[in-house]
Amino acid sequence: MSDHPHEGAGSGRTTSPYTARIRAIEALLLEKGVLTEPEVQDSISYMEARSPANGAKLVARAWVDPDFKELLLSDGKGAASELGMDPEHPAEFVVVENTPQVHNLIVCTLCSCYPRAILGRPPDWYKSFAYRSRAVREPRAVMREFGFEPPEGVEVVVHDSTADVRYMVLPMRPPGTESMDEEALAGLVTRDSLVGVNVPRL
């Protein structure tokens, strides 16, 4: 068994100082017995088992089932459990609804809080200084760069995930999708639309 399963990346591959640092910290934690290798692997498996597809399933079900939508908006973890997801995580999970009057945008200005228990890892741009600083200050300009402009008269509401709540957007069902089934609808729900930088489209 290798002492260090991450070694052996091969010559010529560049490793950033951050990657080198985190590997050194991981190796120390293992060496000192703070973490075990199975715990590290479990943590990686936990993250890899989660993806924006979970969010898309929640949204599509809410679009076709008003009772489920009510549950999703009042008890996000309960709704996720009902669809067989494991939302257990110390943080709260709150879903905010886009309406013809209100468009929601999620950010974490302090770090990278994100509903990982449902959606897995956030995209790199979500963690960037540019997104974190601009999403609160000029949310409309940020959305425009993602290709979305809220219609005239729509209020933009930014949610800064500063503490113990993780947020996800319930986007509006696009027009022209009346004949689509739940699975097809889920296919329209992008990760970007769950953060609110864009909306689902046909």
């Binding site: 709260e92 200005t109 302090l110 609160v136 200050r137 000029e138 949310p139 409309r140 300009a141 209020e155 933009v156 509401v157 930014v158 949610h159 800064d160 995930s161 500063t162 503490a163 113990d164 709540v165």
Partner: protein
């Protein structure tokens, strides 16, 4: 729990080093209590291996974007929510 939904509050302009969950751009700004979220161990202590107890009340606080940023270019109706611990809030007087 000290505040009720609809109460006006101001975020303390305090400086505290370390793992603080109150963003700098909200310090000194006034907003309204939107809702009480719950009580949680204080993350400012949890980050250093302490218990974080007693649990601290956490509120969803709303702010008008026009109040937060000079020259905000969006509509005056735009707003922002942040989740702020009670020990970072003081009652705001003179705002209706």
């Amino acid at each position: 729990m000290t505040f009720e939904p609809g109460d006006w509050v101001r975020v303390l302009p305090a400086e505290k080093p370390g793992h603080v969950r109150t963003p700098g751009y909200l310090k000194g700004k006034a907003g309204w209590i939107e809702s009480f979220i719950g009580a949680f161990p204080n993350p400012e202590d949890l980050a250093y291996g302490l218990s974080g107890l007693p649990e601290r009340p956490l509120y969803r606080v709303g702010f008008s974007q026009a109040d937060l940023w000079d020259g905000y270019t969006g509509p005056v109706e735009d707003y922002l929510y942040a989740d702020i611990y009670e020990h970072w809030l003081e009652p705001e007087r003179g705002t209706t």
